[in-house]
Amino acid sequence: MPYQLAWFIWTLPVFAFLAITLVLRPFFNHRPHWSAYATITAIGAAFVLSIWALITVLQSPDHLLAVPRIEWAVIDGFTIHLGLLVDSLTAIMLVVVTGVSLLVQIYSQGYMHGDPGYPRYFAWMALFTANMLGLVMADSLLFMYVFWEGVGLCSYLLIGFWFHKKSAADAAKKAFLVTRLGDFGFLAGILTLYFSQNTFDIEALRTAAAAGAIAGTTLTLAAIGIFAGAAGKSAQFPLHTWLPDAMEGPTPVSSLIHAATMVAAGVFLVARMFPVFAYSETALNVVAGIGAFTAIFAASMGLVANDIKRVMAYSTISQLGYMMLALGAGGLAAYASGGSLPIEEAISLGVAVGMFHLFNHAFFKCLLFLGCGSVNHATGTFDMRYMGGLRKYMPFTTLTFVIASLSLAGIWPLSGFWSKDEILVTSWNYIPVWFYVALVTVFMTAFYCFRAVFLTFSGEYRGGEPGAHVAAHSTPGHEQSHMPHESPRVMLVPMGVLAVLSIVSGWINLSGGFSSFLGHSAESEGGWLQTLFGVFTHPLPFISLATAAAGIFLAFAMYNRKWVSATAVGRAFSPIYKVLYNKYWMDELYQGILVKSFLLNGLFRGAQEMDADVVDGVANGIGNTVVGFGKGMRRMETGQLQGYAVAIAVGLVAIMLGLYFWT
């Protein structure tokens, strides 16, 4: 097939967006479903094209789909190209983005049913997907930045979809502002690279970095700037605060944001520009350090959240931290190995490990959110304290949710296990410090996600909540029945597909196929069946599995069997002693709780609050300061024309004196 088809991958959703806003919404508002069909068709077609692109890239010897550039404008010798860069990294992202987006759109038909903003919703979703696709395909940083901002804008519109709700409008504003803070860094990074190399072309910049043409402080500054942008979008500490609030949007939006589009953009960006990072040890340490810290920091906050979507949001932040850690650790491999591993190898190692987790995470996290949406669809609340016992009413949702949770917790042989294992191995090999942090995080992850599972699905139904949270999600059409019921089929089918993917997606790399596609030739350990079981020849998988199992067990003990009252853990620590007495592998954490009994309620909650007040404060503060200045400065405009004339006269005098003394 001709290469031009690649253009359609991101333009098709744009057409869908245009069709909805220009034709369907003004003229066919009484047929809202047509909008959904337009979006689904466009993204479906883009998905097919993405598969084609992936196959083409796979078959081409240099793993590249050559798309000639279009010379767009020449301004005084400064040429602006329009071009696509479709390599293995892009091809994988394309399939993930279109695939996940397609499933989410199908699901949304059920979830958004009856919402008055139905066509608007699908228009923004199409545009959101289009921008993300453009972002991964752009061949120059300039165009990437354009799509990058487009993604930010669409997420703003989608998070604030129910803009009449103050919390939603606030969350949207927050997301927009906080990610913008990072974007300043990104822009600075782009400009640094541009002034160093006089080009925005990604491939050229990668080559220049590898050839040492950009080096030293310039390189480090550029890399850290880019990472700031990535940290904003991928919700890394300290710019992560927007993500938990972003659940104010419709749940499928959260699902798309958390799985394949918005947050993945940051990780993708770092992977895309990884050569720029790999030659600066400082930058790599920043990436790995922030990643690891974010992983454990976010996970700790997930332990105490009561809102199921919030738990998942913290989980996303934490998992993104893992991916950053993977990238950083992979890159640091070259430095840690004392030169035996060439930097090119380290680059592909980092990218392969990080992207592999991104790939797997997309499916199970998307599924978890769709599960949350399904639960909410049934109970009208996101507060787990009012759920419980849904297993009886929603068997299918329960099943898929548990599968996704197992995958997230990293249980063999589900997909999450494989990529998490690779991250642990890489960090163990090259930066052991972060390995322990990651391991603790594994425990926490397993604990909080099964805490959610048990609170939601086991026990007795606690009646939903007709109070505050329904008001918070008061979309018409979600009529409350007295007992929860399973969601419609249009929502369940995508969940089923994702459940299967959550199990099997990790197997793709059993014989190193995924890694070698990304340029990292892993040491092959025989066929994939051998690897499936052969993985246990090393001790590390046992450790991580055991850690995860421990987490699950603790959750089981506390929230299913109630051997230990969860509230008591917060208040007093002695009951924990009794229950966990014999579990020697819990000693460290145990001591921690003993020593600092306020850890759960004190520090973690404190972290959450600092989050809400300080970091948000800065973001909102900047916005409010500008507007405040504006409000103050407009007072200068007194309406008195003689006041203006005085300004002219004084201005002239000031300019004269200024020039007089300056020259």
Binding site: E637, T638, G639, Q640, Q642, V646
Partner: protein, 103 residues
């Protein structure tokens, strides 16, 4: 001390400042307008003085001043017409009361 170019230029600067004060510091719109006329006159004095002392045969400054006078007349006519409209609307021509639009 013989009167020379500098005397004229300084005189014009003084008249310009007085005119400027008239436009900035007086409340009545017509006085403001008179201030502007003073400023234009001041500029003309310096133009004519330059013409006399710099390029005696060429008279460029005088030509310039001639045009300024024409423009000043046109400007005054339009200004007074606008002041009339204001007066019809508000029964006052005090410029500090004409501040409907601000902020």
């Amino acid at each position: 001390m013989t009167v020379g170019l500098q005397h004229y230029v300084v005189l014009s600067a003084i008249l310009f400042s007085i005119g400027l004060y008239g436009t900035l510091g007086r409340r009545n719109a017509i006085v403001v307008l008179m201030g502007i006329e003073l400023m234009l006159n001041a500029a003309n004095i310096s133009l004519v003085a330059f013409s006399r002392y710099l390029t005696p045969p060429a008279l460029t400054g005088q030509v310039f001043a001639l045009f300024v006078i024409v423009v000043a007349a046109a400007e005054a006519a339009v200004a007074l017409a606008i002041i009339m409209t204001i007066y019809r609307n508000r029964r006052t021509i005090e410029v500090d009361k004409i501040d409907l639009m601000k902020w």
